[in-house]
Subunit: 455 residues, 2 copies
Amino acid sequence: MRVKRATIIGAGLVGSLWALFMAKRGYEVNVYERRADMRKQEMVAGRSINLALSDRGLRALRTLGLEPRIREMAIPMHGRLVHMPNGNSGLQPYGEHGQYINSISRGGLNALLMDEAEQHPNVTFHFNTRSIEIDQQKNEVLLEDTLTGKQFLTHSDVIFATDGAFSMVRNSMVKTDRFDYSQHYLPHGYKELSIPPDEGGGYRMDHSALHIWPRKSFMMIALPNLDGSFTCTLFLAFEGTIAFENLTTVPQVEAFFQEQFPDLIELMPNYVEEFFGNPTASLVTIKCYPWVHKGKIALMGDASHAIVPFYGQGMNSGFEDCTVLNELADEFHEDWPHVLDAYQRNRKPNTDGIAELAVRNFIEMRDLVADPFFQLQKQVEKQLHRRYPARYVPLYTMVTFSEVPYAEALRRANIHDAFFAKANRDQMQLIASQPESPDAEQLMDLWVDTIEKSY
Amino acid sequence: MRVKRATIIGAGLVGSLWALFMAKRGYEVNVYERRADMRKQEMVAGRSINLALSDRGLRALRTLGLEPRIREMAIPMHGRLVHMPNGNSGLQPYGEHGQYINSISRGGLNALLMDEAEQHPNVTFHFNTRSIEIDQQKNEVLLEDTLTGKQFLTHSDVIFATDGAFSMVRNSMVKTDRFDYSQHYLPHGYKELSIPPDEGGGYRMDHSALHIWPRKSFMMIALPNLDGSFTCTLFLAFEGTIAFENLTTVPQVEAFFQEQFPDLIELMPNYVEEFFGNPTASLVTIKCYPWVHKGKIALMGDASHAIVPFYGQGMNSGFEDCTVLNELADEFHEDWPHVLDAYQRNRKPNTDGIAELAVRNFIEMRDLVADPFFQLQKQVEKQLHRRYPARYVPLYTMVTFSEVPYAEALRRANIHDAFFAKANRDQMQLIASQPESPDAEQLMDLWVDTIEKSY
């Protein structure tokens, strides 16, 4: 039988995971990565970020039998631990008991996926190899060994571009006729800071939650790492009164933290050095279409749909790309032009949906988690979901703890929000405070019927 | 006094016009154009397009004293001459008596502007010179003489990129952090065809109108040329039942014309040859921001805001860029960083507005001009405008025969449409049919008050 050849451009999370899927399909897989092998590098300060792994990502890992090993390196976060400006704090659970998201090291997960892929004799990683452009005549990708400068073409039945938000393969496609493309930046940027472990190597805060300091137009968040530290991220406007442009001197930064995050100062002994030592990065949403070039070269993950990080779904949506593509490869018997076309049609509306939800969740995290009506709606939704686990599912649960397509989750959430915007506040209070009273139960029965009819 | 130096990238309509403005300001102006001098080339078949020049474009030409010469080469078009599928036709005037748009040759106008600019000793055109990229360190543009291959940097106080929808200067800016960009294609493409002059050299149709054959999902239009011919453009979906993808053989094209445009067949003796000889082109809307790079390099015209052609405002909006920029250069005494920042802030919402209106006008032209309610609203709006020339101005008049900012025109038009969607049809009929009856006049007084309060 003929050898089946697949090329993957980019050995990040999605590329490494997809190499495993394609290896299992019996393909000879060549993965080309612009950078050196990250497993042989020192971690760069300010880049040791962690991610929130949830159900969609776990599903893909489970398919490959990797879930137990991944669980070992993940830290469960059961809710948002919200730190108010007055110093009060409280936990807002993400879902029901046993539902949680997982803080995981990007580098650690990526290294594990590469190690796993390399166990397959039919997978080869080529580092220090950058993609230059699509060769339009041959429909292969032109690559360059950055150490020798030697250029060569791929030689593939199918090519997957997992080369990230600034994908070179996509850049080649942007120049072709009738290729829709957009890159849109938020007015906010972010900067990573850290809370080190305490003297005994333990955590300085509760490590079973994602911490948020909501401040309306900006916020800080913190996720736990395995070593007892937390990685914190400050999200703040670039321009304006309270903005990165006005935090350029040590006294300015100190005054900002004393006013906004006094409780963090003692937890972050190096925050001033980190503030000036770490880069201020921007936040972009990238959309494009089509994702497939001449039936053979497909964009996946951030290369096709880069989103802002506020729903913790960047990696999860990329891993879901792998799940969907793998299922379609079965369904269409690896007839790649058909598989890839079905894949892009399936994924495009859903990744547009999560892009929209991710931008909205920034407003929720920095502002609404401290808003009384928002909290009331969350409590009512929780009661509806408890009473009707299948019929009423809150948005966060659909996105994070289910595989409801993102576009469908967005559609239903819009119906939920429209309903509650018009709902009687006293009745909402009743459901929230006395959910088991006959009146509350009768109301919930009525409401879930009404909402369901709007779906 | 020091010599003031301006660079213009691109010698198209906007670049050539802006060279004239900058020459009048006393700048040494170097204009670099990728192509050869168009004035020395044969016209390429299928590219001899004409444009609709209206008030915003004329305003810029008037400032430079060019209006009389331009009028000589323009053909007034007083309305839309609509050709229905049943063979009926009728004129829908664009405005009041004396209000018309002008069919003008793109090539002829461009040549005239270049000739005029070259009259100034301080203007030099450099042809066969392409821009490669922005030199980020020096903030100048790297150019290449395409005949010799020699590369060199510009040397400028200020640089204007008028290098069109696929601007290389903008491509350099797209790669910089926090640059918003989108390119979005319509599902429709277009193909140019022509109606030659009759045997005596005269026009085969009324040449005082823009002809439209609206067919709901597609359309043909025709604009007159000075030589007795018309340039026709077929706008049609790329994919679908009635689409370019299903017009690939001579019998298919003949059947399509016999069914859809039987009246055109005898007017277009070469339509089959032209159909297969001329390219099928795509229709793109391009938006970006910021338009200014480091206070010195500014995008103008299609480079900053490429729109679809359906409102006839592509050139007009580019010429209005020149008018606004020229006024701001006066206001801020050629302090270019301030001038350019004010320019982009002024123009961005307005060019976004005309981009939206241009897409909407495609639906109007291909479908609504044949719609009874649309026609009724137009008639009522005409009566309102006659009774209150300043207080009620229909959208088409605001865009075409005024200098109301495009964004404001769009905002008001949305208010108009919302009002008429809810208005009483019988009352609309009354105003349309008996505008001078006391009841109609009373209604109009009431309506204009109501609408004005919504502004």
